[in-house]
Symmetry: C2
Subunit: 409 residues, 2 copies
């Protein structure tokens, strides 16, 4: 019998707690596992031995249900990156000490590419010192940019939020009898998956968004202006989905105040986002009614509208991670393997985390049209199963009820 | 037997189509009413005789249900303001001619303060020429700023969206172990009702937002900075709700590019909204992690999360408007009279539209705290009944199904 530690890392999502619930549920039901520790703020909580016991709290099924539908990271998060153990092994030694002291036999890290770097490094270190602690990664990111998995938990709910909200924004945009442009800025610094998922509205016959710009396609302001002009001839209201990560800065338009001519220290090219910047370009050059909308953190935390497929899969991949560790595997990331899109069939497997850590899966260029301003039917076929089903969530006083770890600790 | 015309005007909401559904449903079931015409794009559709017959479409109960849960204005909208009939009566003469030609005995206008101006002027004109057309206003606005009614249809759903989304944003904001400020910008140019409704989270024990700034209270950047500093001593993550309409422009911070030192021709003081402007102030002066979020049009069009109380009331006040016209009343706006908050009891009445047109009901100063940076328990008591209950909406392919007038016409 050994204990386990589970932690969450990176940007939160609407499904990351469903994966936590899956890990905890499988561990509670596993005879070989004793205490289930949650580490607060990711690997920082391990370094500081800042643990909370989760098994008692979540033996209560109602708490488990609430956790599954609670947005953000219940255990907190961090952006801590371990140094190379050859140059500085102090963090590793501390982690090994904490794990030995607490009889920890397996560590589960729920996160994205950076978190898989931690999984990879810890696994290599433990093997190098012959410490028997299994290290398993559970994928998570709304960016859907992890390699070696069909998709990532959290993405389906974000895509559902984006598509549903876009549908409402489109309805709102069409009320006046005037030519108008609406620009919706969607998350994704280098991968355009979430922006591309705006094509989901086609499943129910909606042709908008009429233009979709991804970081994977080359962008030029001149082509953009020409695209918008063409679409205004065809549609009274033109809807544009644009990824926050496209490189649209152009010195000719640097006087708008919302774009800086050069990137700042953090690589941000716009004071107010690319959507606001393009809004000023349309207003200045074309001169029609135009507005921009940033979906902001709502696209990753809107637990009141999540994909049932996504949260169920997030739960199951968390459970599968425990089975993986019990089967004596380590240095793996759990993954989804798609067997069919229609009918949708998926199985859960695992891959060497070295194939995932610090790598990025971009949106396929062959799913982007020749003009670089839209996506094709392959994209819709891929996205559609991921947003199916709606979660029924609990409400009290007209407001969603979330699980609040603070209340219990 | 006479025909009726119904139209929608002003900014759309998530409940304005529920009022349309109410008018249509009552008219269909009224023996004295023949054809139910919908006028496209508000009063502009009357001037252009741009009508659609609604009775056949909505005799189908499924269409009526879909319409009730469809965001935005199904009949389109306008911002057209009638000139004073004494200075130029040409519009009035045209409207009278169109109504006579189509045997129209009653006109229902669903809208806000500006739309009630149209109701008032048309009623006065028809009376002056002895034309027997009843003119009834049905209130609508997420701003909740109409006089002589306890609240306005559309507001409860917007408040529910704001509170639910804020709850999720708060969860998202708390994941890192760092001092941080999150500023949420909420609609309301001169009335702070919707921003104030962020206090709803207190009903379930959430103390955030810690600071609430409304247009009705005086704002100074120096006090704002001092407020934020104090809150950062008490809370790791400080949440701020700010109305888009507060006057925060300050020449000392005009170099941020997101605030102009003077208002532009449309009265806009910021290129990117007050939230972004205050984000730059916090970043520059306090220097902690800070972000701003604009809830934008989602707060008025998010039909996937509406208040059942609001949409039911919106439907009922639409039905009551028809009864009012049948009772030979004209020049009235329908209104809600609150009899009790707990248990919630409301009745529908009517008021002279002259008491509403072009007037504005501001958030009560006595519900704002002395420091002008929060609201008291009277506000919570007022808001709470308005967000109760959730609508079950129809989904197809994982996406909400809306009624699409274009499909049927």
């Amino acid at each position: 019998m050994f204990n386990i530690v589970v932690a969450q890392s990176g940007g939160p999502t609407a499904a990351i707690n469903a994966s936590l619930a899956g890990v905890v549920n499988a561990a509670i039901n596993c005879d070989e596992i004793g205490t289930v520790f949650g580490s607060k703020n990711g690997i920082e909580g391990v370094l500081g031995e800042n643990f909370v016991k989760l098994d008692n709290i979540f033996a209560n099924k109602e708490n488990l249900f609430l956790l599954k539908n609670t947005p953000s990271s219940a255990l907190g998060s961090c952006r801590y990156k371990l140094k190379d153990s050859l140059s500085d092994s102090s963090d590793y030694a501390k982690i090994a000490e904490v794990f030995k002291k607490n009889n920890v036999g397996a560590f589960f890290y729920i996160g994205g590419n950076d978190s898989m770097d931690t999984v990879m490094k810890l696994d290599a270190y433990f093997k190098s010192i012959n410490l028997d602690v299994k290290v398993i990664g559970v994928p998570k990111t709304i960016d859907n940019d992890l390699c070696e998995t069909d998709h990532t938990p959290g993405f389906g709910s974000a895509a559902k939020y984006v598509a549903c909200t876009l549908k409402e924004i489109i309805a709102d945009s069409r009320v006046y009898d005037l030519p108008a442009v609406t620009i919706v800025e969607i998350m994704g610094r280098s991968a355009g998956w979430l922006t591309a998922s705006s094509c989901l509205l086609r499943a129910n016959g909606e042709v908008a968004p009429h233009l979709i710009y991804l970081p994977e396609a080359e962008f030029s302001i001149d082509n953009f202006i020409s695209d918008v002009r063409k679409m205004l001839e065809l549609h009274k209201t033109v809807i544009i989905a644009v990824s926050e990560g496209i490189d649209a800065a152009d010195d000719r338009y640097s006087n708008f105040g919302s774009a800086t001519s050069a990137a700042d220290a953090f690589g941000h090219k716009y004071l107010s986002g690319v959507g606001k910047y393009l809004e000023h370009v349309v207003s200045d050059v074309i001169g029609c009614k135009v507005r921009s909308i940033e979906l902001n953190v709502m696209q990753r935390c809107s637990s009141h509208i999540t994909s049932l497929t996504d949260t169920n899969e997030a739960f199951e991949i968390g459970e599968a991670a425990v089975t993986e560790a019990i089967s004596n595997e380590s240095g793996k990331m759990m993954c989804f393997i798609r067997e069919s899109s229609s009918p949708y069939a998926i199985k859960i497997g695992s891959v060497d985390v070295t194939a995932v850590a610090n790598k990025e899966k971009l949106f396929p260029k062959e799913w982007i049209n020749l003009d670089g301003n839209n996506v094709n039917e392959k994209a819709l076929e891929y996205f559609l199963p991921l947003i199916q089903g709606e979660n029924q969530i609990a409400y009290l006083n007209g407001l969603p009820v979330h699980f609040d770890l603070k209340e219990l600790l």
